[in-house]
């Protein structure tokens, strides 16, 4: 451990590497099993999408029947990949920012295994036709008895670390992380109780499930992604966050607006009439934090194009932040009264879901993973090409999904709204865009096979033993991760580069 004769610089490096060591197993576990679930989720997405325009695709196989495979696809993506990637990012970031080693990696690992068991049972039962039939919550109700305790086992330590940290500046990333950690159980327990356990009106169960869906993204995945972006952008570019007050404002804007969204999905349903309106208004207002946070992060790295081009972490993160801005703008446009009636029951909603889960959250998570894994394994990424392919294929894929599902969904919705035209007209409009979505999932699948393979190799400790980080361009004299020589040599002795800007 740190020795008093060492320089402050040395103590700092020692502390960071001891934090990384203490978290190596749980974080690698979450990232690798998350990546495997991602590949599964994407494969299921490909099948689900193909069945929407080729109904006989894989029709001989009962467990891959349309409907079930859609549900398994979304749930594998959300709970298998999304939640686990988020857990890895949260526990590592919180330990680093609170500058505390993790002393409970065993419990976290156990929690991680339980979570995986829950997801496996859930996805298996969905495919076996035993799902609950509630969108985004298709796991049978009892699976939550496994998921919620394992969530607590995994993330309670991050709260403890924050509480026992040495007094000092609290970074904006920490506020986002804390909020995400606290929001998730509140959202999940509320939804599970109201949807499955209390006796109420079936429409309110649906409405609360719709709220759960948007709250899960806006108040769990999004804050985790933003915490990572607010950490990585200053860290890799070596500049402080552009405006700290804007960052705080962006956080509270999300906290104030986010919890109201969701019930716009039930516009026109016989529930208290203000609920869909409030939901739609929140989805329009969400453009505000999206644009502010996006501008703040992009301004932080402005003039540092070289770093974005070279650093895989920064490139993925910036793509995620741009997706967030795009999500905000699209959300505002698509939830006005005149477009909501068109988009409410079209592919557009799916397009927005995938934009949020993959475009915003996953890209930021990939950025974090490319940053964290070399530090905890003490090995560098093997192949620049693999990272490049992962990035570009993912980018093509997500752009194609957004174009086909959101734009195509809009035309489909218009076709359905044109009530005096045949329904087949609307259906055929959707068909060709469906092909586009299937093709896009194919690209994303290939990209994630590269990612998954690369990560598994790193997990097997087969990474490069080098002091030079793997950059996307041939090494330059100056690397965006700081001067070369040591894997863990970013930041200064005064702490991480992320400080408040004045």
């Amino acid at each position: 451990m740190a020795d008093t004769t060492q320089s402050p610089d040395q103590i700092d490096i020692e502390l960071r590497s001891s934090i990384d060591r203490s978290l190596r197993h749980p974080v690698m576990f979450f990232f690798t099993s998350g990546a495997v679930w991602l590949a599964i989720g994407v494969l299921l997405g490909l099948i689900a999408s193909a069945k929407k325009h080729m109904p006989e695709f894989l029709s001989g196989c009962g467990c891959f029947e349309a409907g079930k495979v859609d549900a398994a696809h979304m749930n594998a993506l959300i709970y298998g990949w999304g939640a686990q990637a988020a857990f890895g990012v949260i526990i590592w970031l919180m330990a680093r920012l609170s500058r505390k080693e993790c002393r409970s990696s065993g419990v976290i690992l156990l929690g991680g295994h339980l979570w995986n068991l829950g997801v496996m049972i859930g996805v298996g039962l969905i495919l076996a036709g035993k799902g609950s039939g509630v969108p985004w919550m298709e796991f049978p109700a009892f699976v939550w008895l496994l998921l919620i305790p394992s969530y607590i086992m995994i993330l309670i330590w991050s709260l403890v670390q924050f509480q026992i940290r040495d007094a000092g500046h609290v970074y904006i990333s920490q506020w986002y992380l804390l909020a995400a950690i606290l929001w998730f159980p509140w959202i999940a327990i509320t939804s599970v109780l109201f949807v499955y356990h209390f006796e109420g009106h079936p429409l309110m169960a649906t409405a609360i499930a719709a709220w759960f869906k948007s709250a899960l993204f806006l108040l769990f995945f999004l804050p985790t992604a933003l915490a990572s972006a607010y950490y990585l952008a200053p860290k890799v570019s070596g500049r402080p966050v552009y405006s700290y007050s804007l960052a705080i404002f962006g956080f509270w804007a999300l906290a104030v607006i986010g919890p109201w969204a969701g019930m716009q999905k039930l516009a026109g349903a016989p529930i208290p009439q203000f609920l869909p309106y409030v939901g739609a208004a929140a989805m329009i207002l969400i453009a505000l934090p999206a644009v502010l946070v996006g501008a703040n992060i992009i301004n932080t790295i402005r003039g540092n194009g070289e770093a974005v081009a070279q650093s895989p972490s920064l490139r993925f993160t910036i793509a995620g932040v741009i997706s967030f801005i795009l999500f905000g703008v699209l959300s505002a446009v698509l939830h006005t009264a005149s477009s909501l009636k068109i988009t409410q029951f079209s592919y557009t909603g799916y397009g927005l879901d995938i934009l949020t889960l993959y475009g915003v959250f996953s890209f930021c998570a990939f950025g974090a993973i490319y940053f964290i894994v070399p530090r905890i394994t003490r090995r560098e990424w093997l192949s620049r090409r693999f990272i490049s392919w992962h990035f570009f294929l993912s980018l093509y894929g997500i752009s194609a999904i957004v174009c086909c599902a959101i734009v195509g969904g809009y035309f489909q919705g218009e076709g359905i709204e044109a009530w005096n035209q045949s329904f087949l007209e609307a259906a055929s409009r959707a068909g060709s865009y469906g092909w586009g979505v299937t093709l896009a999932w194919f690209f994303i699948l290939i990209s994630n096979l590269f990612f998954c393979l690369h990560l598994l190799l790193m997990w097997a400790r087969l990474g490069r033993r080098s002091s030079h980080p793997t950059l996307l361009k041939a090494s330059h004299a100056e690397s965006p991760h700081g001067p070369e020589g040591e894997v863990d040599n970013y930041g200064t002795a005064n702490g991480p580069a992320e400080t408040s800007a004045h």
Partner: protein, 247 residues
């Protein structure tokens, strides 16, 4: 910002919408206010409106969810300010013809009675099913197959030819993109099948019979009607095009 301020802020910003959009509407909707008929002369009924649904609703609705039908089918006829569903042919009820009255109307909160979750649906890759049962019954050739047989055939193979009354409907089936649901059916020896077998091409000496799940699902789907046979809807719930037209 201190930790304490943060926690108070979080509790307020989350707690307020939590109470207003979740807890209060949920308790408000737990027991629906009884709707009374205005009277025999005005409404064709007296006393409270107590709707009943025929069929295996609870079970069928659960299977509908388990099979993920809601990914491609909706069950919501929105008021005209929120969409034009009610005008689409046979979606919100049947338009007036020589045989029957105009039964088109918006979805009301009683329509999901006896279900655990209202399957309002995610997208409309396929048509809305709010009035599916009536639509099927109405489209079939008189004396041909029963609605239940039709639904089971459709679940087994949506692109198989079935007996419709209208020529327009007759051509629709070929273009369906609805995936078939083979896991809801069993292939058994023809001698075991008895009357329940589907009238489809089965392998030599075999027959395709629906499972109990398929029957429950079919029963539920047929229950989806915007008009109930013996029970007129009170005017207070009957929002549809006919009420807007001047006499």
């Amino acid at each position: 910002m201190s930790f304490k301020a943060f926690i108070i802020g979080l509790t307020l910003t989350f707690g307020l919408p939590w109470v207003i959009t979740i807890v209060l509407p949920y308790s408000f909707m737990r027991t629906l206010e009884t709707v009374n008929y205005a009277g025999i002369e005005e409404d064709g009924g007296e006393g409270p409106y107590l709707p009943k649904r025929d069929g295996r609703i609870k079970e069928g609705s659960e299977i509908y969810g388990q099979e993920g039908c809601y990914y491609c089918h909706s069950q919501l006829i929105r008021p005209t300010y929120a969409g034009s569903d009610i005008w689409r042919k046979d979606w919100g009820g049947l338009a007036k013809t020589l045989d029957h009255h105009d039964t088109r109307r918006e979805t009301n909160a009683f329509d999901y009675q006896d279900e655990a979750v209202a399957h309002i649906g995610i997208s409309r890759v396929g048509p809305d099913l709010s009035n599916f049962g009536r639509r099927v019954t109405n489209a079939l050739t008189l004396g041909g197959i029963t609605p239940e047989e039709w639904v089971l055939n459709h679940l087994y193979n949506p692109r198989a030819k079935k007996g419709y009354r209208g020529a327009e409907d007759q051509n629709l089936y070929k273009k369906s993109v609805c995936p078939s649901k083979p896991s809801l059916f069993k292939t058994v020896d023809a001698s075991m099948a008895r009357a329940g077998a589907l009238k489809v091409d089965a392998p030599e000496g075999k027959a395709i019979v629906p499972t109990d799940r398929a029957r429950a699902l079919a029963s539920y789907l047929i229950s989806l009607k915007k008009d109930t046979l013996h029970q007129k809807l009170p005017k207070a719930l009957d929002y549809g095009p006919k009420t807007e037209k001047a006499e």
